[in-house]
Symmetry: C2
Subunit: 308 residues, 2 copies
């Protein structure tokens, strides 16, 4: 069993903000290629309204058509009960609920306050757990703006702990702490991760970082030092933050895998295979990606001596 | 006194690989603006042969004309005795000698093996220390490829420790451990920094990272955790590695300052002032730079709520 579990979010978090719709067959090909690299989980799509995010309007088609590999969990974002019902019909392994830790980001992004989101979480959990599903679907919740809100600023640690507790009380099984706009720093990450692990020792926490201010890998390192073993990451560093134009997006999967494997921390991921999939991204999305290892090669790359 | 001392290397390490010559007056303006931000040291130029690096052919003019501020050390790279003599004539505060930890990189970059470099170090130290200089000039040595060589691969820790010991025995006072092509990972950085600090507790070590594989700030974090308080960094992330085309360069000064200040670790640098200087770079060099904070703004930047 690898030391880390990587949840690949490019098919959802990355593709949802691309200007162009990526054809369904290409999405399926991408996810199938990712499944073969040893990733623990793939967030395949979002069962959101096609009007809200037309880029993912083919959610059901994608999830129905992808190959299902043992050991690779397929998770999908579900924004509401209807989304959960559509996701369950496609036999996903996991649903990922989403809410904001800050009032203003919740209103801007989801049109819901945290309290309203928690009410909806209750309804979604009820739907997922209702017979006749039978099948055990893991319920994860993502907490946006955990490390700060681009509108209102600081998010107190006490609020984060309280919201996590309320999520778990509703039947949520795992929680993703999301640095949605790349505001976290390593000292803050270490403090908060230690606090949640001390208070909720049985809960699997996933850390979700963006590289907006260049601290993505430093924050992942700090989280790992605190005892975190699950990370969201996005192939090529796809994704991004609408409030920081020009900045890079999610922490890059292959850069994250590269760092931890170089440190001797196993991820279960075949980095060469992952880099090959990353190399297909520009062809799918029509532009370059911010990932660094894909450009520079791995640290163990050797060069010929220059001619004298 | 700030917790960290930042040595700004863009005027030397950054500008030396720019395709276009930056006019002397612009270099002077850049260094003067940097001096006013609270940086501890500035590597202003290199007294290398103008034929080898024509971009820095104005070394003496630059160092003679810049404003000298109390508390801001002016250091320059000196490749040989002649360079040291030219630097001393300009009344620099510090000279930075350079050698490679690996044989093949030394031959490729300096046309010298490590042993030959050490012989030359002895001659440079003798020159710097010879009367009638009188004035105390600090002698620093940079050890390239400390964390790995792009030609021969792994550089054993024992070799690094041995080379540092031999440098110090020659009269070198401070050592910069350089991840010249961005091969270091945080576990390796922590191990090596702990080893050098344990063995040479009186010596000021500076860590020099590149962001080639995205690990620049993670490596700086690991070095700081090991007890390192001095870092090289380059405004805008200028600089680079000729063996990793497309990859970013040195760790970016404003991103490094931003991370540590956000963590509560004082750098002595006025980040807003530094960002203003960084914003002048595209006008000086004619292209965008890889720094992230300059694009995204600081983590405490606030945005208006989007219109509903």
């Amino acid at each position: 069993m690898p030391s880390l579990q990587i949840n690949e979010v490019a098919p959802r978090d990355g593709l949802q903000i691309e200007a162009e719709f990526v054809p369904t067959a290409d999405k399926i090909g991408l996810i199938d290629a990712l499944s073969a690299t040893g990733l623990a989980r793939i967030e395949a799509t979002s069962f959101v309204s096609p009007k809200a995010i037309p880029q993912l309007r083919d959610a059901a088609e994608v999830v129905t058509a992808i190959q299902r590999r043992p050991g690779v969990g397929i998770t999908v974002l579900v924004p509401n009960v209807k989304g959960a019902e559509r996701a369950l019909a496609c036999h996903v392994d996991e649903v990922n609920l989403v809410m904001s830790a800050s009032e203003s980001h919740g209103l801007a992004n989801l049109r819901m306050t945290p309290t309203q989101s928690l009410e909806q979480f209750a309804a979604i959990v009820e739907t997922v757990r209702a017979p006749p599903q039978g099948r055990e679907v893991f319920i994860n919740a993502s907490l946006s703006t955990t490390f700060g809100c681009p509108f209102e600023g600081e998010v107190p640690e006490a609020r984060v702990l309280d919201l996590v507790e309320r999520q778990l009380a509703l039947g949520v099984q795992g929680v993703s702490l999301c640095d949605t706009t790349g505001m976290a720093n390593p000292a803050q990450v270490r403090r908060l991760c230690e606090a949640v692990l001390a208070r909720f020792p049985e809960t699997p926490f996933t850390l979700h970082f963006h590289n907006t201010r260049g601290m993505g890998l430093a924050n992942a390192l700090a989280a790992w030092q605190a005892g975190i073993t699950r990370f969201d990451a996005s192939l090529g560093g796809l994704g991004g933050c609408p409030y920081a134009p020009g900045a890079t997006g999610n922490v890059c999967s292959e850069d994250l895998v590269h760092m931890f494997e170089a440190m001797g921390v196993s991820t279960g991921v075949d980095l060469d295979a992952l880099l090959k999939v990353s190399a297909t991204l520009p062809g799918l999305i029509g532009h370059d990606t911010p990932g660094q290892v894909a450009k520079a090669g791995k640290a163990d790359r050797r060069y010929p001596m220059p001619a004298r």
